[in-house]
């Protein structure tokens, strides 16, 4: 029997460019970038988010005052109206001051920093935990899967805000008193993180179960790759889409959760207030006329959470091939 071996160019369709695209070209031509370009809502919200993140990162440089240094505060500056000078001290504040005489603009910038820090680190924590457990659960299966998923089930039995509250209670109690102020934020992060991991784990497990069946994973087995190598190098990159979507949504959730915990009195301390703490403090002034103490942090939180949510929403649509 005689067959001709198709060689090189003859077997290649003409319409393909011969030069591989650079990563940048790939990105510029991708659907994601296109969808981004053509959605004004997403452009606005991502820019808002970028501005807020930059504001948070550079808050020490941008803030006119350092609100977290109590000794720099002058109580007599308290309750200064926005864009006016204080009647006693003559100090000027763009967005006014709060009950402690802290510049509202500075507290917002610093608060944003704390809210974002708590949110981002909590989500990273939840994500790492959830992804590792989800991969293990989905890929290794067996009793490991059973145990992890039962724990997840039990945790799902409680709303995350409550889990966070309970964990916070325990965490706070375990820390020696002199470290509490510094550790409070970390306890908060771990509490929120632990309350959010289930989402990640479940999604990753589901995606892993699908990917595990795929033939490229089998091909990995054939060349004797280890479990971890297959999980981390093969499967993980292919489940990043859903992880990213959940991470975005969890970020908004975590930021709001932190704010809600502030209301329950277990959020960031008032000496290092997050946006949630600021709102919770400002809430007292809703009837008394010092509207700026509540309004500005609330708007900032709204802008932050809304932009993250809108971004997550868009990401979900873009990354979901079923909806395209």
């Amino acid at each position: 029997m005689d067959t001709q071996i198709p060689k090189g160019a003859s077997a290649r369709p003409e319409f393909k460019e011969t030069v591989a695209k650079t990563t940048w070209q790939r990105w510029a031509q991708s659907d994601i970038w296109h969808s981004y370009k053509s959605s004004p809502v997403i452009i606005v919200s991502s820019l808002t988010f970028a501005v807020l993140v930059l504001g948070a990162i550079f808050s020490p440089l941008l803030s006119p005052y350092t609100p977290f240094d109590p000794s720099s505060l002058n109580l007599m500056n308290g309750f200064t109206k926005p864009m006016t000078a204080n009647e006693f001290t003559g100090d000027y504040f763009l967005l006014g001051t709060d009950d402690q005489g802290r510049d509202v603009l500075s507290t917002i910038l610093f608060g944003l920093r704390i809210s974002l820090f708590v949110g981002v680190v909590a989500v990273l924590f939840a994500m790492t935990l959830g992804v590792v457990l989800g991969l293990l659960s989905g890929y290794v299966g067996g009793w490991i899967d059973g145990v992890i998923m039962r724990i997840a089930d039990i945790q799902m039995t409680f709303p995350s805000i409550m889990v966070a509250m309970l964990l916070y209670g325990i965490g706070k109690g375990l820390i020696p008193p002199d470290l509490r102020d510094e550790m409070a934020i970390w306890v908060l992060i771990i509490s929120i993180g632990l309350s959010e991991w289930v989402q990640f784990a479940r999604t990753v497990r589901g995606a892993t179960l699908v990917e595990r069946q795929k033939e490229y994973v089998q091909a990995g087995h054939l060349i004797g790759l280890t479990r971890w190598s297959i999980m981390l190098r093969h499967i993980l990159p292919n489940v990043t889409g859903p992880i990213l979507v959940i991470a975005t949504i969890s970020l908004a959730l975590a930021i709001i959760a932190e704010a809600t915990l502030s209301f329950l009195g277990v959020g960031a301390p008032k000496t290092q207030p997050s946006l949630g703490t600021l709102i919770n403090v400002g809430r007292q002034y809703i009837l008394s006329g010092e509207w700026w103490i509540l309004l500005f942090p609330s708007l900032t939180l709204l802008a932050l959470a809304l932009s993250v949510n809108l971004f997550g929403d868009w990401l979900r649509d873009v990354l979901n091939p079923k909806l395209r």
Binding site: M1, D2, T3, Q4, P6, S10, A11, R12, P13, E14, F15, H34, S38
Partner: protein, 335 residues
Amino acid sequence: MSNSPLLQVSDLIVEFPTRSGVLRPVDRVGFDVRAGEIVGLVGESGAGKSMCGSAIIGLIDRPGRISGGEIRLNGERIDNLPEERLRHIRGKRIAMVFQDPLTSLNPLMTVGQQLIQTIRTHLPLSANDARARAIGLLEEVGIPAAAARIDAYPHQFSGGMRQRVVIALALAAEPELIIADEPTTALDVSVQAQIMALLKRLCRERGTAVILITHDMGVIAETTDRVAVLYAGRIAEIGPTRNVLSTPSHPYTVGLMASTPSTTGSLHTLSQIPGSMPNLRAIPKGCAFNARCGKAFSPCFQDIPVLEPVEGSEVACWLYDPAYQNTKETSGASE
């Protein structure tokens, strides 16, 4: 009227606007289907055969649209009908059978519910009469103990049985035309034979015309009266099935037949068409097949060929254009 074809498709163009330009999965396709006739649409994936079917029944997903040509059913134009009028044609006069019987049926409704719902949408029957008709249909498509199984859910049927149910659903309102889109691709060979035989029998009995969309040359050969070979959204060759398959004229059809392995006949080396069907975004100028064609010559890269009668079929190829008969000789394209 009596002599005019049941379905006339002429110069049908389907377009999908995308950000990188407008795509044309179907480009100036025209063919007729006469009452009781089985016409095959054959082609490889991406040839536009399924899109043709969807266009005829008016089910092109947004943002796709019919942007040219006409579809006439018994002489009446149906491609520009409003959705509500079109709805009364679907199922009633033109029915469709899809590839995968597993996903074609609503898993949460019994087959009876789905049948009765369809019957009562199109026929003025009482619930009881509709049920009786549904049982009758199930019996006809060869479902044993139809009266008992009518209240079963789709997952309680095997793959072959499910496709029978789908056929029953398509036949529910006695349509004049059935569009069968790869009706047996998801089935095993032995079941495929059963289903094809069933479809053939039922349509012959009722005089229902069929458009059979498939990529399987064997199924085309055994089932259809006439066949249209599609390539990149255009018809390359159309004619009586025996004619097209035994003595193909278009180089693509020739290549296709030569590269199809067979269980019978002499065992020869499969020839192959180099490359693959062009992406819709990059259909070459002129004949869409030119890049893969061993016989391509200058006009093939300039203009789109139109269907011309060649030996009982119609072929869209510059090779058979009288104006180029001589040039072809001299171009010395390899054999």
